[in-house]
Amino acid sequence: MSPASAMQLAVALPVAASVPIVLTGRSPNLRELVTLVTAAVVLGLVGSTVPDVLAGERPELTLLQLLPGLSLTFRLEPLGMIFALVASFLWLVTSIYSIGYMRGHHEQNQTRFYACFALAIASALGVAFAGNMLTLFVAYELLSLSTYPLVTHAGTDEAKRAGRLYLGILMGTSIGFMLLAVMWTWHITGSLDFREGGLLAGQIEGPAAAALLALYVFGIGKAAVMPFHRWLPAAMVAPTPVSALLHAVAVVKSGVFAILKICVYLFGLDFLTSTGASDWLLYFAGATILIGSLIAMRQDNLKARLAYSTISQLSYIVAGALLASSLATTGAAMHIAMHAFGKITLFFCAGAILVAAHKTEISQMDGLGRVMPLTFSAFFIGSLSIIGLPPTGGTWSKFYLALGSLEAGQMWILVTLMISSVLNIAYLLPIPIRAFFAVSADSESQAIKEAPLPCLIAIGASTAGCLYLFFDPSVVYELARRIAGGG
């Protein structure tokens, strides 16, 4: 199969699968089989294109002409390849996890959940494959919409409020800022294509470029650059698999992915460097990194803590993009994958704790590690990856981001990253450590068992991913290296 049609099929398949998912809603086993098979096939399709992309091919596919001169186009390049690979792999893992979680937790409306999940993944893949800014924008909006029912899944007042905030911020920023920026770009250049070296390079003045970039960065609310981050903690009311895949991988990563794409292919790294358009935005990213960590420390709810951690980590990638150096871009692209594996592990564990022990607050988890050793070991390894310690993949992305900040001459970003690593320890590691070593306050914890088997399988897979990416980061690295013209 040609890479172009594999790409098309990879997006179309989950959409198509939502129909049989809905139809087989009466029989959970069948429904989940459909999900799993689809996820596996999609992963296969995405994976099959890797050699072509590594060989320098850039498969392209025009879906339809939306406006004169402006079409919905898929074009697969290394950055999108990384994102697509991560998203499709983790979809499969999350699907396995969901089976254990949703049944173990007796969630309502599971059919709607699986169907929306498939649609969301299709949108995320659409973002990954986007060949121009319009396609990206379209997929981005579809992703917001298809995840809304997932966020509000519980249907409670809190979920409603969260959904309002979620959609309000994401749609608000994207229509208010990003769409304006897209239209502005089109107005200036008459094109929205992602172009190596930058579409806007040389076509816009310095201050205007800075303003346009700001519209993009803040318009992409999914990247959760402060002050547009509130939706992410709010969205944590969603069931844990949703938080896991969407708010550690698909949704948030499509945001930072978009910012990376914009910096690399719309502005061009050289152009950004020469105009300095991104310099002042770096302060926002840097502040988000630190403030996110500081707020995370104060959260007692596990998912809320992870959410703020995500906010902080996302700005690693945003900063990597804004540094506008090829090494930082490499690091940022790698961090998409590394953080995804690390954070999804953490969310999986949070969900496993909820299902098995019905605990959400960190302060109640003392001593749980002795009855749930696998879960908390995985949590520990996932934390290491977020912190960026060996033997986990996070080490490498942090390495390249730091190197990139030197290359760009922004020493303070290096300092920020280093401080953040230490802060990460302070808010992540106490969780597994207290679980293992502290003495539990209540005695009932003896009755608690590990989470259901599918959950454990998924946790194992994502943890293995964290470790594997340390020993063999070559695929991610080779792809990331090619983004900024490294061959």
């Binding site: 339809l64 939306l66 406006l67 379209v138 309002r164 608000g172 229509i175 208010g176 304006l180 107005h187």
Partner: protein, 497 residues
């Protein structure tokens, strides 16, 4: 037979609905046949409209002398890209509304009045088509009155007691509007001695009595502004839309204001000419200011409405602001945007009002409170509402996005980026008022009315969904809309250069 008729298509366009109106009353004893007749008439009209557009696109402007009297003495039907396009909108909406009407009307209107309702609907269609197709200024007034009068009737048939007062208000205001238009046309006649638009256009530049001309133009703009619900002349609209029967609302909301906009465009660009309107007179500035005011006010009022139909009505006021904004910009791009939104808004509002009609069909209420939890009871009707709502917001892949895109581009083109911000800001307000409904209807615990509701019948759903899908289709396949809108805009803007 057909080839013979082919030459008389412009006349048939008006005649077919016109003839079917009295037939409705004649066949009143067989309501089903009345409906079928109207259905046939509207579909025929659509076929004719498509054919006419095709002819215009391939062969240029069509001039048809009514009754064989050549212009400027006789009444000329003159069809170019602009009105062929508007005709397509009007007949298209009519063809979709008509199948919808069957069950909706049966439920909302006393059986004895049903034939009358259809007759009025046909008359209204006749009036709108006539207004659009004619090349004669006075004829515009005549058809305007036909459509207006039938509209008063349609609105008054609403079940709600307030429908009568609304119709009465509209009657007064509409009549004032009509009168103003007549006065304006009179002024033009005084200074030129002709009523044929093309002829007027030729003679006006030589006119010396500029005061008279300007005053006439003022009357025309205010008169037409009343009909198209330009802020602050929109006050009749919310009640009229809110209390009319669902079918009537859907039809009127999607077409009447559009035709009024067409009339405005025709008078401003073809008759008076953009030079006088924009350069000698500050029409553009006034239009922009009123557009912005309408946009902001309409949106904010919509946010706080408790009645969904009224909410959509105020949203219409805002959307008309968009259309007016494009006209105010006076560039090809701006006009393209306006023409596009003319079409797209017809699709959007048609779909929204029809979806609300579906909900009303089961719940007998359009109050937000009563619609609590209806989303889960009537997923298809409500789904239609959501998708059409997304289109209203301007989410990509829907029709609404396309017009917003052009409107923003037009604003950027002339360097007025605050307008671009405003257009997108309007979208944000639209998110608020649409999502307010979504949240209540989806998450609210079902109200007593909603609890008993079941999904609307297919007879209502299918037409609704046709429009919804049209929203998606024209959001992704813009060749026709953008192409024709652009052509129309260029036709209008010939005088600009």
């Amino acid at each position: 037979m057909l080839s013979v008729l082919a030459n008389d298509l412009p006349a048939l366009q008006v005649v077919v609905p016109l003839v079917s109106a009295p037939l409705c009353l004649i066949l009143a004893r067989w309501p089903r046949i009345v409906w079928l007749l109207c259905l046939a008439a509207s579909w025929t009209s659509l076929a004719i409209a498509i054919e006419l557009l095709d002819q215009v696109l391939s062969g240029g402007t069509i001039s048809y002398a009514m009754g064989g009297w050549a212009a400027p003495w006789g009444i000329e039907y003159r069809i170019d890209a602009v009105n062929a396009y508007v005709i397509l909108i009007v007949t298209g909406i009519a063809s979709v509304v008509m199948p919808y009407a069957n069950q909706s009307v049966a439920k909302e209107i006393p059986a004895d009045r049903v034939p009358l309702f259809y007759a009025l609907l046909m008359l209204c269609l006749t009036g709108l088509l006539g207004m659009t197709i004619t090349g004669d200024a006075f004829n515009v007034f005549v058809f305007l009155e036909i459509s207006s009068l039938s509209m008063y009737g349609l609105i008054s048939m609403g079940r709600d007691r307030r429908a009568l007062t609304s119709a009465f208000q509209y009657l007064v205001m509409g009549t004032i509007g009509g009168t103003f238009i007549l006065v304006g046309i009179g002024f033009l006649y005084v200074v030129t001695g002709t009523l044929n638009m093309a002829d007027l256009a030729m003679r006006l530049p030589e006119v010396t009595q500029l005061r008279t001309l300007h005053t006439g133009f003022a009357f025309l703009v205010v008169g037409i502004g009343l009909k198209l619900a330009m802020f602050p002349l929109h006050l009749w609209l919310p009640n009229a839309y809110a209390y009319a029967p669902s079918t009537a609302t859907a039809f009127i909301a999607a077409t009447a204001t559009k035709v009024a906009v067409y009339a405005l465009l025709r008078f401003v660009f073809t008759v008076i000419g953009p030079v006088i309107a924009y350069q000698d007179l500050p029409f553009g500035e006034i239009a922009k200011v009123l557009a912005v005011l309408g946009l902001v006010t309409g949106s904010f009022v919509a946010i706080f409405q408790e009645n969904v139909k009224r909410m959509l009505a105020y949203s219409s006021v805002a959307q008309i602001g968009y259309i007016l904004l494009g006209i105010g910009l006076a560039t090809v791009m701006g006009l393209t945007a306006s023409m596009l939104h003319l079409f797209n808004h017809a699709l959007i509002k048609g779909a929204l009002f029809m979806a609300v009609g579906c909900l009303f069909y089961r719940t007998r209420s359009v109050r937000l409170d009563d619609l609590r939890g209806i989303g889960r009871k009537m997923p298809w009707s409500f789904g239609a509402f959501v998708i059409a709502g997304l289109s209203l917001i301007g989410v990509p892949l829907t029709a609404g996005f396309v017009s917003k895109w052009y409107l923003v581009q037009a604003s950027l083109e002339v360097g007025q980026w605050p307008l671009a911000v405003l257009v997108l800001g309007g979208s944000l307000l639209a998110i608020i008022y649409i999502w307010r409904v979504v949240e209540i209807a989806w998450f609210g615990s079902p109200s007593t009315r909603a609890a008993e509701a079941t999904e609307a019948p297919l007879g209502l759903l299918i037409p609704t969904w046709i429009l919804v899908l049209a929203n998606l289709y024209f959001g992704t396949h813009t060749g026709l809309t953008v192409g024709v809108a652009n052509l129309a805009a260029r036709t209008l803007a010939e005088g600009l250069r």
